[in-house]
């Protein structure tokens, strides 16, 4: 190899990196330009944010602070109902999702037609946001705790069904084969092989579902009724903003408390 070829050899990787860098700069520029167009399409005003920021904060302190705990009994009652509804929806949704996952998974789903139907159903329920279900079902069921429960069950089911079917597909095939070879029937394989192995993960996901439900309970309650979200909607409608702050404090405390609880439980079971 001649010495001038050595120089050439070192130039190659430089070109490669320069090309890569130029590509990523072009990508970045494309994203920024398209976000600028999107912003002007919806009328998003960045300058207004900075201009009116102090005004917005002042208005916020004027309206919402200090919190008014006048109706604290109502708030505690509503929060208790919210937590009950969220846990119930999480439990029922998880059970239904597990049952659907048994039918959906390649390992346990024996009927191809049922597998396709369940997969399509869970895809559909998962991809439409839970609150849209609240709007759709509202006209038939009217406001109430039952509708909120139904909406949360739909949300939990859609989210968990696919997760669980993936989880069942990932179970240890050897133990299932062993059970099969000693003459276990289908339900014995499910109850002795699959459920014990997937139980801790399922519990962890059901805790996560309850967490998500509590987080979304505000918006679901506003749209569907039931629990503290409904109360927040009422306070907002009657412009009782100081009481709204008190309700929000309850929601935040509920979320933080349940988060800590589920973190502690998850640490011990997984």
């Amino acid at each position: 190899m001649k010495f001038w070829q050595v120089k050439n050899f070192y130039e190659k990787p430089n070109d490669f990196f320069r090309e890569k860098r130029i590509k990523s700069y072009i990508g970045l520029a494309a994203i920024l330009i398209s976000s600028y167009f999107a912003a002007s399409l919806i009328g998003f005003d960045l300058i207004l944010i900075f201009k009116n920021f102090t005004k917005a904060v002042n208005r916020f302190f004027e309206l919402y602070i200090p919190p008014n705990f006048e109706e604290i009994n109502n708030l505690i009652e509503a929060m208790w109902v919210t937590i009950l509804l969220c846990i119930t929806a999480g439990t029922i949704g998880t059970f239904l999702a597990y049952a659907a996952a048994l039918g959906m998974s390649k390992t346990t789903g024996k009927i191809p037609f049922l597998r396709i139907i369940l997969r399509a159903l869970s895809t559909f329920l998962r991809n439409v946001p839970a609150s849209i279900w609240a709007i759709v079902l509202l006209m038939a069921f009217w406001f109430g705790e039952f509708l909120a429960l139904l909406v949360m069950i739909i949300g939990t089911f859609g989210f968990n069904a696919r997760l669980f079917s993936d989880m069942i597909d990932e179970t240890n095939k050897n133990s299932l084969e062993a059970l099969d070879s000693v003459g276990a029937n289908y339900w014995q394989i499910v109850f002795q092989g699959i459920i014990p192995e997937t139980l801790p993960t399922s519990i962890s996901w059901s805790l996560f579902s309850v967490e998500t439900n509590i987080r979304s309970s505000t918006i679901i309650g506003m749209l569907a009724g039931g629990g503290i979200g409904h109360l927040i909607g009422i306070y907002r409608h009657f412009r009782k903003f100081d009481q709204l702050t008190a309700a929000v404090i309850f929601v935040v405390l509920g979320i933080l408390a349940f988060d800590q609880l589920s973190v502690q439980i998850r640490k011990r079971i997984l």
Binding site: S35, A38, M139, E145, L149, T218, I269
Partner: protein, 274 residues
């Protein structure tokens, strides 16, 4: 023989009960008891309010697209584009600030106190529902897209801080050490190894958050009263009893979200994010 544990029925116990098993059964029991209590004693079932004929007409006209007028279809598609833009603008804004704060929150290149402070603030922001953030800014900015973006921005920001910090913490320790040893300053470490080695993961996180933000943007219309989003149109159609239009809107949302999910799964497989 004394060390063989025997169950009540006299069978030998193969498995011993661990703490994890005990906690699992307690959680399961508590959840089932709460469920039974809620279903049978707590919820008010207002069957008088249940509109059977409305339910049937919703179900029957859900996919009757022939009943949807042409101007309604155009309006829906325009509002869908609006909703997508809302989600996109929020994601980009959250990303720009989130990547800076994410660098400060990553424990391997930041001060531990700064990192803890940013993480704590992010988790506090996340515990306040999005809809409340929107309500807070309504008084300052009015019911506009600016308010919606501002309200969704905070959750997006805290999501990006958390996920980017975790991504940056996975960057190879040896590379950072080598750069430090050769005298690089903080910025050189960031641009030399942190950003390049986590680029694919950052793109995946942006895609994932775009999907979440689309879901939030759909809902934020009817809940906070932001006009021009697809959620508000569906809400109006539902209130007016125009169930065919409502069904069309739901299908439109489903298709958009489904396409996003498929794309994200493809991106995820490239970058291996769980």
């Amino acid at each position: 023989m004394s060390d063989i544990r025997v169950s009540l029925t006299g069978k030998p116990k193969i498995k011993t009960l661990t703490t994890a098993d005990f906690i699992i059964s307690v959680v399961l029991l508590v959840f089932i008891l709460i469920t039974l209590y809620t279903i049978f004693f707590r919820i008010e079932y207002k069957w008088d309010d249940f509109q059977g004929d409305t339910a049937i007409s919703i179900a029957s006209s859900f996919i009757r697209f022939d009943k949807v007028g042409m101007e309604k279809i155009i309006e829906m598609i325009l509002s869908l584009i609006n909703t997508l833009s809302l989600a996109f603008v929020t994601t980009i804004n959250g990303f720009i600030l989130g990547i800076v704060l994410g660098l400060f929150a990553a424990r391997n290149i930041s001060n531990i106190h700064i990192s803890n402070f940013i993480r704590g603030a992010a988790s506090f922001i996340r515990s306040i529902p999005t809809i409340i953030w929107v309500l807070i800014f309504v008084s300052g900015y009015g019911l506009s897209a600016t308010t919606a973006v501002m309200g969704m921005f905070f959750h997006t920001l805290s999501f990006f801080i958390k996920s980017f910090a975790e991504t940056f913490e996975e960057v190879d320790k040896g590379t950072i050490e080598a750069l430090r040893a050769s005298g690089s300053n903080w910025l050189q470490i960031v641009f030399g190894t942190m950003l390049p080695s986590s680029l694919t993961k950052i793109i995946s996180w942006i895609a994932i958050r775009s999907e979440i933000n689309f879901g939030v943007a759909v809902v934020i219309g009817p809940a906070a009263g932001v006009p021009g989003t697809i959620g508000s149109l569906i809400n109006n159609a539902s209130r007016a009893g125009d169930y065919a239009t409502q069904g069309f809107g739901v299908i439109l949302i489903f298709l958009t979200a489904y396409i996003m999910e498929v794309l994200i799964n493809k991106i995820r497989q490239k970058s291996i994010i769980n």
